[in-house]
Symmetry: C2
Subunit: 279 residues, 2 copies
């Protein structure tokens, strides 16, 4: 079986872990990497995440599959630079928001593109953060799939299934609304929680008391500001709506405590418990 050539644009946590996962399928792949950070390129080579490094998007045009594992604004910019694509080339972007990407892809190469969002990640970043099993058992959302060529749809679906992912299909706009609630707004909360404690004079004494709940809730406040600034920018309206909804819920709690409406508070907490019946 001839080796398929895979281009990886972005050699961080997502791109690096993808290489490990694909290598573990035992299918024959050859990985070509590209990253604007030269030390990431060196690390990716030495960690055997890629077989070679190139420096220009046009160097990837003959790849069978190209993954774009970079922030959303980078994906939109790179999408406009592809020329002379191999006729069966499949480009899969892993951006955290999808509507702007889906609309920004030039019509001429739209069929080559599959816009996907793997619902996974950690707070770590860079090639050294790459890990086996980042994708295993997790959901990947495939957006506006009817706009991709049939061949490209099949390539993407097979690849994601090969690395153990569960496929979910959605409109890009629906995805962005849902992702704001389940991922982007919770990041805003985690950052705000971390800063609430860091603003306190007694922060070291406070943090000495941190148990598992606080550690879990502040974990994603470790996430990359560059990546999340980009997500917040790309999904501004949905994020603001989700933050607003959350603020209303927290305000309810605050009012019930202020007014000592303990029975209502108990009912409100019991309702929150029911999330875990469907999570």
């Amino acid at each position: 079986m001839q080796k398929k050539t895979i281009g990886l644009v972005g050699l961080g946590l997502m791109g690096g872990s993808l290489s490990i996962a694909l290598q573990e399928t035992q299918k024959p792949y050859y990985f070509i990497g590209l990253d604007h950070n030269p030390s990431h390129c060196k690390e990716a080579l030495s960690l055997k995440l890629v077989d070679e490094i190139v420096t220009d998007i046009s160097d990837l045009s003959q790849c069978d599959i190209i993954f774009l594992c970079i922030p959303v604004d980078g994906i939109i910019s790179v999408a406009k630079q592809f020329t002379n694509l191999h006729p069966k080339c499949t480009i899969i972007d892993l951006g955290s928001t999808k509507e702007k990407i889906s609309n920004a892809i030039p019509t001429k190469i739209r069929k080559h593109f599959v816009t996907a969002h793997p619902m996974t990640g950690t707070e770590k970043f860079g090639p050294t953060a790459a890990m086996a099993n980042l994708y295993q058992g997790k959901v990947v959302v495939l957006c506006d799939l009817e706009k991709s060529g049939t061949y490209q749809q099949n390539v993407a679906q097979t690849l994601f299934e090969d690395i153990g992912m569960k496929l979910v299909y959605m409109d890009a706009s629906e995805h962005d609304r849902h992702a704001a609630f389940i991922s982007h707004m919770p990041h805003a909360i985690s950052y705000a929680l971390a800063n609430s404690v860091m603003e306190q004079e007694a922060r070291e004494s406070i943090i000495a008391l941190a148990g598992g709940g606080f550690k879990d809730m502040s974990r994603i406040a470790k996430s990359s500001p560059n990546m999340w600034e980009d997500v917040f920018r790309q999904n501004k309206e949905n994020l603001l709506e989700a933050i607003h909804t959350f603020q209303s819920e927290l305000k309810k709690c605050q009012k019930m405590v202020e007014n000592e409406e303990w029975d209502r508070l108990n009912t409100w907490m019991s309702k929150a418990n029911t999330l875990h019946n469907i999570l």
Copy 2:
């Protein structure tokens, strides 16, 4: 060595796990349990968390050590019922807030009391939730320790060290302020986050996208409403202050997104990252 008798008031996660941890020290203990829930009593016996069950607080007055592993209002009520205590009896309460307890203990038995808060727990409850290692490596805050008798101080410190805990000392009022930030307010956030999603029509489609971040942040929204209603009531003022601080931070984030102040947002996120240098 003669067996020490340990009274456990409350046979849930905290009391049950304490029995497992103390049994693992291989020191000779005899456990007497009391719980207002008859099925908890049966379960605790069958799980060998206790050697016998009693039904009245006065049945525990000759114990060497009594742990109060019940909500704060229960602790305050029970503290007033002790009579004829064994002269060396040490009563240790594990309530989540400490100032009201510390002030409510009758002067006559104050020296018997050690008020402690182990910074650990899970979202589960009841005797079946009891687990080895709930306390291992975790912090226990000993409050207003100078008000306890020297003998009782030593008993409590040795016991907590025996089960692998790290001792931290604090005023009860300082503890309550800090616990509001590190534990109580984060619970309010987690409940509010869960309810924000449950309020959405598309909640099932939203939850289909849940990754590790959301799961971590909503985990403590599974916690017992009865326990947390009680904590919120007992620590009302500190909780409201912590919620207010958090709301201000989230509002900052919201405004920066609305005004597209991306550089400031990036700086704010980077500040949140620094929490993990001291956590």
